[in-house]
Symmetry: D2
Subunit: 349 residues, 4 copies
Amino acid sequence: MIVVMRPEATQEQVDHLCQLVREMGLKDHVIHGTDLTVVAVIGDDRKKDGSKLENVPGVNRVMKVLEPYKMASRTTTGGKRSIVKISETCAFGGKQIPVIAGPCSVEGEKQILEAAQAVKDAGAHALRGGAFKPRTNPYAFQGHGEAGLKMLAAAREATGLPIVTEVLTPSDVEMVSRYADCLQIGTRNAQNYKLLEACGNQPKPVLLKRGMAMTLDEYLQATEYILAEGNDKVILCERGIRTFEDHTRNTLSLSAVPELHDRSHLPIIIDPSHGTGHARMVPSMSRAAIAAGCDGLAIEVHPDPEHAMTDGAQSITPAALAELMTSLHRVAEAVDRTCLSLAVVGSRE
Amino acid sequence: MIVVMRPEATQEQVDHLCQLVREMGLKDHVIHGTDLTVVAVIGDDRKKDGSKLENVPGVNRVMKVLEPYKMASRTTTGGKRSIVKISETCAFGGKQIPVIAGPCSVEGEKQILEAAQAVKDAGAHALRGGAFKPRTNPYAFQGHGEAGLKMLAAAREATGLPIVTEVLTPSDVEMVSRYADCLQIGTRNAQNYKLLEACGNQPKPVLLKRGMAMTLDEYLQATEYILAEGNDKVILCERGIRTFEDHTRNTLSLSAVPELHDRSHLPIIIDPSHGTGHARMVPSMSRAAIAAGCDGLAIEVHPDPEHAMTDGAQSITPAALAELMTSLHRVAEAVDRTCLSLAVVGSRE
Amino acid sequence: MIVVMRPEATQEQVDHLCQLVREMGLKDHVIHGTDLTVVAVIGDDRKKDGSKLENVPGVNRVMKVLEPYKMASRTTTGGKRSIVKISETCAFGGKQIPVIAGPCSVEGEKQILEAAQAVKDAGAHALRGGAFKPRTNPYAFQGHGEAGLKMLAAAREATGLPIVTEVLTPSDVEMVSRYADCLQIGTRNAQNYKLLEACGNQPKPVLLKRGMAMTLDEYLQATEYILAEGNDKVILCERGIRTFEDHTRNTLSLSAVPELHDRSHLPIIIDPSHGTGHARMVPSMSRAAIAAGCDGLAIEVHPDPEHAMTDGAQSITPAALAELMTSLHRVAEAVDRTCLSLAVVGSRE
Amino acid sequence: MIVVMRPEATQEQVDHLCQLVREMGLKDHVIHGTDLTVVAVIGDDRKKDGSKLENVPGVNRVMKVLEPYKMASRTTTGGKRSIVKISETCAFGGKQIPVIAGPCSVEGEKQILEAAQAVKDAGAHALRGGAFKPRTNPYAFQGHGEAGLKMLAAAREATGLPIVTEVLTPSDVEMVSRYADCLQIGTRNAQNYKLLEACGNQPKPVLLKRGMAMTLDEYLQATEYILAEGNDKVILCERGIRTFEDHTRNTLSLSAVPELHDRSHLPIIIDPSHGTGHARMVPSMSRAAIAAGCDGLAIEVHPDPEHAMTDGAQSITPAALAELMTSLHRVAEAVDRTCLSLAVVGSRE
């Protein structure tokens, strides 16, 4: 932490600030510049609320120096990337770039089975589908709950695809964990810390979507709520941030991929469906995501988008997915990755 | 809902779109303009996912027409404003502009009693203080939990001030409701729908902070989760939104006050402490909020900000609050409101 | 400037960085913290491109410490506020809070004369009106040019109100300066540095609107282009920034008022018309601006907004202005300012 | 244009609105919905200021339906993409994806010649370099002006690479046009309409960067200022937008590529250097841009970034560019494009 004093700060004010720093159990180091004085604060200030020093007379501002997260940091693993497996054939963070595909909502048994088979045939590696839906509109369809989870399990049974599904509240975590291969925490719950903790206390991997207004520091801090509980199987997911742009539902920020790889050992996937809100942009943004270095994709696919109960605007058809997979695989190869299944990857190496 | 077709859309595409509209139980009305065709969709589409029509061939975009909320809408009350009382002397939405003041966190019994007495002496109408703290940093102080609630109750006992305190998760709602006069839902939980529902199912008023990336439509939709459960005592609170600005922690958007008053019957208060992040801006922004027409203020006050466990940067001292109250009252009178207590207001009228 | 090294940075990398700092004519001061090393760079780095050090091996990031502007800084005047007069009765930065009012565009001689007389009668202190219009839409009305300036001069002649009008390009500066009492530079030209320089090279005061995506640092740096040419009569104007909000045309950021007052000696006014885009919000936001401490207002007023050639959506009528002035004056008095004319102010004191 | 009335709007208010619509030379078409009335306005309203209708009693809001641009629209060319050539071997909008590379500033003859040769050897197709620099910081290096243009011409002479360079103000357009193969208009001047017009009145192609807070509608409207003057050789360039993100200088919005291709016939290139601000992200974001479908790249390359006078933080070395070109070419082939030079492309086809 660096405390920048105001140009007109008095020596007494600097002394008082240093006194407060020492009271916090940290060390002060005063540097007199040509125009003003700064106080470098030495020690681990991550557990302290250093920002309160901004309110001290003579202080201009406080600048953080240390990363505010620890277990998510790449320094923790000595620079190595983590690989998070959600099934024997679906791993995030390695050479393979798995595609999680499926409808926004589990609408019924027939729909989800059909969707599961279709995305499997198209080459997807995992099935997504919501049994619990966080809807902006309170009057909209909210999901089938546990019945939906059972339908997902049946779809896994039928296809062998691992299942990724969302959990909304701590009291549901145990139940969702029983059915799912990977729990998803949505963008609106990305700072629902009680939910993060609960997901840290169960054994399945967790796909934590970035909050739509979260900085990357805040995002990695959120992962610590899961990691600190002992669950180290966290998958990051950029799904678009909120900006002034109006041609997309959100602005997909692909620079998060290299930056998160630089800061953290955790794998990072991209959701081009929510990240744009338009089915027509899913192919180009999926290709871009792979070229940017992402470790996976989450794509909304619906057998009949025109009649989807939710997110029809951004869902592509299974036929479109099949065509896209061929194209994604070509881009993956151009960056020395693959979109084939692990078995095939293994047999190749 | 208005569906704008692409200029090159064929008649068949228009027909297909109209067919889908009718399948949704709505009525289509085609208008041929000079450059393109639009389809006006007639009927209550609030429970339908109309956005899926964007994905239909020949469609350019879909524009919503109806407000996506109902019970929060001002049309529900025939244009009248609701008044939400959290105690006999503290009501939001009328002539009085109450000030909720207190520390970010309940740090200990002595601190909260001292703070409560100090803000009461300064002229505040309610006491705020967090027993459960949602912290971005997982290693930071998370609050005293139920022990903190008891300290708040003791502070109420000592001062007579009603208590506003945050609840983080559905399973705590019942307990917090037992102690508090008003439950607060924080910005990070503003779309935690299970929490909203749980707060809708208890009898105390709910102060719902605006999510830092929420549009006003989304914000009012979130209130419907509470209102629809039967609790109509909802207080809105603008507390700063996330923008590119870096001179404040958030950008306090005061235009939300007249706009929310125009759209909704619910009272709207302002939190200048989180809305700026700097104690030095709290006086000017509090005055501005009152002049803008707000129905209350939530201000962080700490007896000793330099040693506050949380949010010291944005907390003012009780002495500063006392000075501020005089100034606020002058501005309130300039807009035909008052910051005096209800009893005094009553005796004056 | 503080250079934060990566945790894994080697001593050689630190040495190399220090070498580069010394090559820039600055002094390095290395501080070894518990987790990483930072290098404090001592000396005036405002004319150096310090950010290039971010690209040096072992460097994590570079944090600026010094304000990147000088002449606009409040330290330049020893903390005193500047007062900028645009006529004998209209001064920004003192006790008076002048209101600049008038139509977006000068549409014709009759319209501007009528508007001028109406805003004068309502109590406004200066007349605004565009002869050169920067229109987003290339097919929209672009203003009457010099003919419009002549109409403005005639309106001044008739009413005695000083004139504020926009200039779009350096080659017009001399001409506009001949007619206007104050030159306005619009938000889209706020970083048109050649225009800023040209306005710095003429004698009339300059009202520089904040760019809609400018930080305050960038804004004050822009003023330096004018100040550095020798023209110290600069008036700042917050007119809304671009954010995700959709209920207003821009988000009016009133916290800019106390922050700019803290950093700079220049007066700061508010434009609630562009800052919201809706006539219905102009009264509440004007009151809020005054309560926040602004030094003036710029309000769009049109005799017949329904037939205005430009900005009809955000223009109020002269009758509405007259009513508003009374209310503004009450709020101004509540913060020990006034909206009366200078003569009256003088006679009162 | 669709005018949405308030639910409580009276028939008289609807009639009055329709009257105003007809006065604007447009046709009204009233639709009575279940909850409210909307008025569809028929006719070309692009030259009208329809937003003023928002201020009419009983009106809730006005929604635009027509694209606010014409000549930039893809409908103008019947859906065909335009190809813009800046030299015989460098064309934007076809199969080839040219890379414009070079330093931010022309610092001296030796530097620019060395840079030109180096980027040519690395495989770049055009040379960029600023002779006129728009600097946020008024005290920073502002470029060598015409002397810089001469150095660029010498570099072209030596390497055969076409030259792309920025112009800041209308009075310089003729001079810059004499030296450059393509004129660049920077993000800060993207709504400097007088400059756009001046560039429309000279024969060289124009690379117009997107303003950092521009929507795509506004961006395409800005191109119309150039197109309407008769210059149809416009190249679009996404270079990052301003958002709350702090890990990059700007947020590179790659979804602009498919969207601009959908709306406009003009080619669109990406600037990953300004779009991120970090040299370390240039390779991944360049690959992503090509995979997203862009028609070219503009990359800052400096022989010695640590000593660059400007933008050192985001400049890569010629050696890094050479390595990157190989990788870019692989990604280009994966999407059926190429980064080879036109001659080679030609001989292949």
